[in-house]
């Protein structure tokens, strides 16, 4: 197997008649951290959601870890949507962290983490719990094991959500604006966890406007606008000498 984890080719996506992705291509190597930025409505979140098939795509193809995501070859040479079971199986390799955490409120922090390993992977409870506790410790929340999400701060909830995604031992982690719903004083703790994850060698695609995180942890920056990739570059180059006018304009607004 090659070391390419994500391979997206010419991805098209429409919402009704509106074209939100126009031939987006992106490759992410193993252990690479890619940060996608762009104005709202640029399609960056939609693209991220396509990578684990939370959104269907209308053209192109996306492979993760060598598996075509969401589709299989049909009889007439085109692609047809894959079975629900296969799609679910593919998603076990892809962790997703949502802007609004989406923790399950009727389950404790630990239960949130062990649910999928036990129900999807059929990991025995003892093993799942041990692993879940280790993950909680890793995100600095060992003492919140039995707390329900409603009792946790936003930052704590997001860290549990990261642990929940990691519990499936994914090959790839996707982050959809993980700090946008947080109060400013809680952003740091979440970014800290993400930086550690990056330095541990996790392959990550992050949609975020946290430029501090991008400078420090990202290997590559991707600028999207109007459903296309405008520019790709390593952070140093991207921030100091952006080639494209649109990138320059956008950076001047957010920095």
């Amino acid at each position: 197997m090659s070391d390419t984890i994500v391979k997206a080719e010419q991805v098209d996506k429409y919402f009704g008649r509106q074209r939100v992705l126009c031939g987006v291509s992106l490759e992410v190597e193993k252990k690479e951290v890619v940060c996608i930025i762009g104005p709202s409505g640029s399609g960056k979140t939609t693209f991220l959601r396509c990578i684990n098939h939370l959104e269907r795509i209308d053209g192109g193809r996306i492979e993760v870890n060598g598996h075509l995501i969401g589709y299989r070859p049909g009889k007439n040479g085109g692609l047809v949507e894959d079975s629900e079971r296969n799609i679910a199986l593919q998603r076990t390799e892809i962790g997703f962290v949502f802007q609004r955490f989406n923790l399950w409120p009727h389950k404790t922090a630990l239960q949130n983490i062990i649910e999928a390993p036990m129900r999807v992977r059929k990991v025995p409870e003892q093993e799942a719990v041990a692993q879940g506790e280790a993950l909680l410790a890793r995100v600095g929340l060992a003492d919140k094991r039995n707390a329900y999400p409603g009792k946790l701060s936003g930052g704590q909830q997001q860290r549990v959500a990261i642990a929940r995604a990691l519990a499936m031992k994914p090959a790839l982690m996707l982050f959809d604006e993980p700090t946008s719903a947080l109060d400013p004083e809680m952003i740091g703790e979440v970014l800290e966890v993400m930086k550690e994850l990056a330095s541990d060698g996790m392959t990550m695609v992050v949609v975020s406007h946290e430029m501090g995180f991008a400078r420090e942890a990202a290997d590559r920056m991707v600028m999207m606008d109007d459903g296309v990739v405008v520019e790709e570059a390593p952070p140093a180059e991207f921030f100091l000498a952006p080639r494209e006018e649109r990138t320059r304009q956008f950076l001047s607004k957010i920095l």
Partner: protein, 263 residues
């Protein structure tokens, strides 16, 4: 006025309430069994109908829509009469034979027909309640479940329905309360339940006041017991986000507590 009150046989009422006869005990048991069975099957029908309504297949959505429309748009008593007198003729075979044999147990066909009629009726109302309950759960909950590799069915069972249950249980409690009382309509097709027992007593004695007050009392007992059970169920379901216990009286009589709006 005094004369009217004096004419009431308080002794008889007391007897009907505190020393019920065997026929009455049977009728009471039958009422409870029919109500519980009809409600259970009604919830299952409602769940199926609600899932049909959210299906991506049009046929299933249409079936559910027509079912809810037909049931909610016609009187329950008509449905009961249709089920008992009409269903066998309509279908051309005996859906409800005179007696139904289930091994050791044999049940009157009329009881089965009546229970089915109540269940089918209930299913349509539960369908709407369950659909609204599921609809009240944030889409992100299902997405999060899918993102860790759960299938739709597993995510529904483990993540969405347990949360929807909290929204569904209070109206479901009201539905069951109504169900207990609606079983009385089965008297009109000849199911020997509480109301028919009272009616027969009245027709022999011509003492409507005594018999109907006594039977009303028993319905009140049933609905009150249910109210207490419902409180316990709701408390259990709400355990994760109710910091302080509310008094059972508050929950039973539905007086809103200010703390509840916070979530």
């Amino acid at each position: 006025m005094y004369a009217v009150v004096a004419a009431v046989d308080w002794h008889l009422i007391k007897d009907r309430i505190f020393s019920p006869d065997h026929a009455f005990a049977q009728a009471l048991l039958r009422t409870v069994l029919i109500a519980v069975l009809a409600q259970v099957f009604g919830v299952l029908l409602g769940l199926a109908s609600a899932l049909f309504q959210m299906s991506r297949w049009r046929v299933l959505r249409v079936i559910s829509y027509v079912y809810v429309l037909a049931v909610r748009g016609t009187p329950l008593i008509v449905q009961i009469f249709f089920m008992y007198y009409g269903a066998n003729l309509f279908l051309g075979f005996d859906l409800f034979p005179r007696t139904v044999n289930l091994g050791l147990l044999s049940i009157d066909g009329v009881v089965v027909a009546g229970t089915v009629a109540l269940a089918v009726n209930e299913g349509a109302y539960m369908s709407e309640i369950i659909r609204a309950g599921i609809g009240a759960i944030d889409r992100g909950q299902m997405e999060a479940a899918k993102s860790v590799g759960m299938t739709y069915g597993l995510a529904m069972r483990r993540i969405v329905l347990p949360q929807a249950a909290r929204v569904i249980v209070p109206p479901l409690g009201n539905e069951f309360n109504g169900m207990i009382k609606n079983t009385s309509l089965l008297a009109f097709i000849g199911v020997y339940e509480l109301f028919l027992d009272a009616e027969q007593g009245y027709s022999v004695t011509f003492k409507p006041v005594e018999y109907f007050i006594a039977v009303a009392f028993w319905y009140l007992v049933l609905t009150t017991v249910w109210g207490l059970i419902q409180v316990q169920i709701e408390r259990k379901l709400g355990a994760s986000d109710r910091p302080e216990d509310e008094s059972w009286a508050l929950r039973l009589f539905g007086i809103p507590s200010p703390a509840k709006g916070a979530r």
